[in-house]
């Protein structure tokens, strides 16, 4: 797997999302650079998922802009060169009604390289070797999450978004996902993931972003974020208080 970095940094400038009169993202300015994973934290409704969707081009900005290495890329053009190489794993990924291998193959469509070999590599990477012929929807929750990861990675992304990938998993399944995240990040893929689990943020993150009520409350390198938080929100959140 190549480790392309040409799409980064990903920069949000005054990103604003308003839907049905409700402000979901409130003038967020944020730079995501190549390097270790960035972890988004914040209470429910803080805007984590929307931030990821905006980055994927799935939710349009109401105002502000997003640039990839200095360029605006709408993501709606048909020219693949004009598109950011990005992929996402949703919190509850939809499994196509096919085998696990076919789910990966689906994302590989258009790739001319020997696909069977790529599928085997990806299945091995997420620890699903030997399960390729299983119907995807018969896999366990953790296995489905890993298959979704493999499917996203099939697109050879420069940046991979993960929306609460371990939200409903037990510790063993969570560890499996975290190991994959580390392996992927080690290959130079920029991982941006949201989580409710502060321990997970500490274990994985190079930098941490705290969102609260759609606003960027704080963004800093992991040690600094946890040891010397500058904002009240961050202090409360780290202390385990309820941020409302």
């Amino acid at each position: 797997m190549r480790a392309p970095v040409t799409d980064l940094p990903l920069v949000f400038e005054q990103a604003n999302v308003i839907a049905g009169g409700v402000t979901i993202l409130d003038h967020v300015s944020l730079t995501l650079s190549a390097g270790p994973p960035t972890v988004l934290i914040g209470p429910n409704g803080a805007g984590k998922t929307t931030l990821l969707r905006v980055a994927m081009g799935l939710t349009p900005l109401s105002s502000g802009r997003i640039t990839w290495n200095g360029q605006e890329r709408s993501g709606s053009g048909s020219d693949s060169a004009s598109k950011a190489r990005r992929a996402i794993v949703f919190q509850r990924p939809a499994m196509l009604r096919r085998s696990a291998a076919a789910n990966i193959d689906y994302a590989l469509a258009g790739v001319s390289a020997p696909r069977a070999q790529r599928i085997d590599e990806l299945l091995a990477l997420v620890g699903l070797s030997g399960l390729g012929s299983r119907p995807a929807r018969r896999l366990s929750g953790g296995e489905q999450q890993r298959l979704a990861l493999a499917r996203a990675l099939a697109r050879d992304p420069a940046i991979l978004f993960l929306d609460e990938p371990t939200a409903s998993l037990d510790p063993a399944a969570t560890k499996a996902i975290e190991d994959i995240v580390r392996a992927v990040a080690a290959r130079g893929v920029k991982v941006v993931m949201s989580t409710h689990d502060l321990g997970q943020a500490k274990r994985l993150a190079g930098d941490v972003v705290l969102l609260h009520r759609g606003r960027l409350a704080e963004h800093g390198p992991t040690p600094a974020f946890f040891d010397t938080p500058r904002s009240d929100e961050a202090r409360q959140f780290i202390a385990g208080e309820l941020l409302v």
Binding site: L58, A94, M95, R97
Partner: protein, 230 residues
């Protein structure tokens, strides 16, 4: 009852006339379902994925047409195909083709409406995933239809059930011509009118057996497919 015995005797004796009737019934209804699927599935999928003013109206009309009375469909096709009608020059009235057209008209709304519902439900589940994978619109539709295939089989079966059971449309456009456009249902209507109720009942039981057999086959195929594809 003596009548059932006589119908089953016909079946057992391999009565060629009876087999011709059963065969024509199957060919006409299955052809109509195939044609209706060719029209209804893409149309339903398109309706599921497109938003435009008047769409809700089309859906309401489509759902209403699921209950289109067969005689109305038959009459419409009759007027269309009659020598005095706009398509009269094709000489299709009182042919099996006319029966296929009439049943296609009956079955298409059922398949289209059920396909729309199925595809729309699946679309709600797949939408973000397919958008994130940058899937082009045409492949999107193909993916949804393919992944909904087992539910769509149920829609096709519903269509087949309606086609195989109806008599109102095909007796008008087919004419119930002996050996040419006589199907099980029109034969049942005829035997009833001749007062030969036992034979009519026998034919009805043959029809029921065939419909049940086809449903059982499709059910088995669906179960096997679901097991295989999830």
């Amino acid at each position: 009852m003596a009548g059932e015995t006589s119908a089953f005797q016909l079946v057992l004796a391999g009565d060629p006339g009876l087999y011709a009737i059963v065969w024509l019934s199957l060919v006409v209804s299955l052809s109509a379902v195939a044609c209706a699927a060719l029209i209804g599935v893409p149309f339903g999928a398109w309706l599921a994925l497109t938003r435009f003013p008047g769409r809700e109206g089309i859906i309401v009309v489509l759902n209403a047409l699921m209950g289109l009375p067969p005689v109305v469909a038959g009459l419409a096709i009759y007027l269309l195909l009659s020598r005095s009608g706009p398509l009269g020059s094709f000489g299709l009235l009182f042919t099996p083709q006319a029966m296929v057209i009439a049943q296609t008209l009956l079955v298409t709304p059922i398949i289209a409406a059920l396909a729309r519902q199925t595809v729309e439900d699946l679309w709600a589940e797949y939408r973000d995933e397919l958008a994130a994978l940058d899937v082009r619109p045409f492949r999107r539709v193909a993916t949804l239809v393919w992944d909904a295939r087992f539910s769509l089989v149920t829609a096709l079966l519903a269509g087949f059930g309606r086609a195989a059971a109806e008599v109102g449309a095909i007796i008008i456009v087919g004419g119930n011509i002996d050996g040419f456009t006589r199907t099980m249902t029109t034969a049942i209507a005829l035997e009833t009118s001749k007062g030969d109720l036992p034979l009519a009942i026998g034919l009805g039981m043959v029809l029921m057996a065939i419909v049940i057999a086809i449903n059982a086959l499709a059910w088995g195929a669906r179960r096997a497919g679901e097991h295989y594809a999830g």
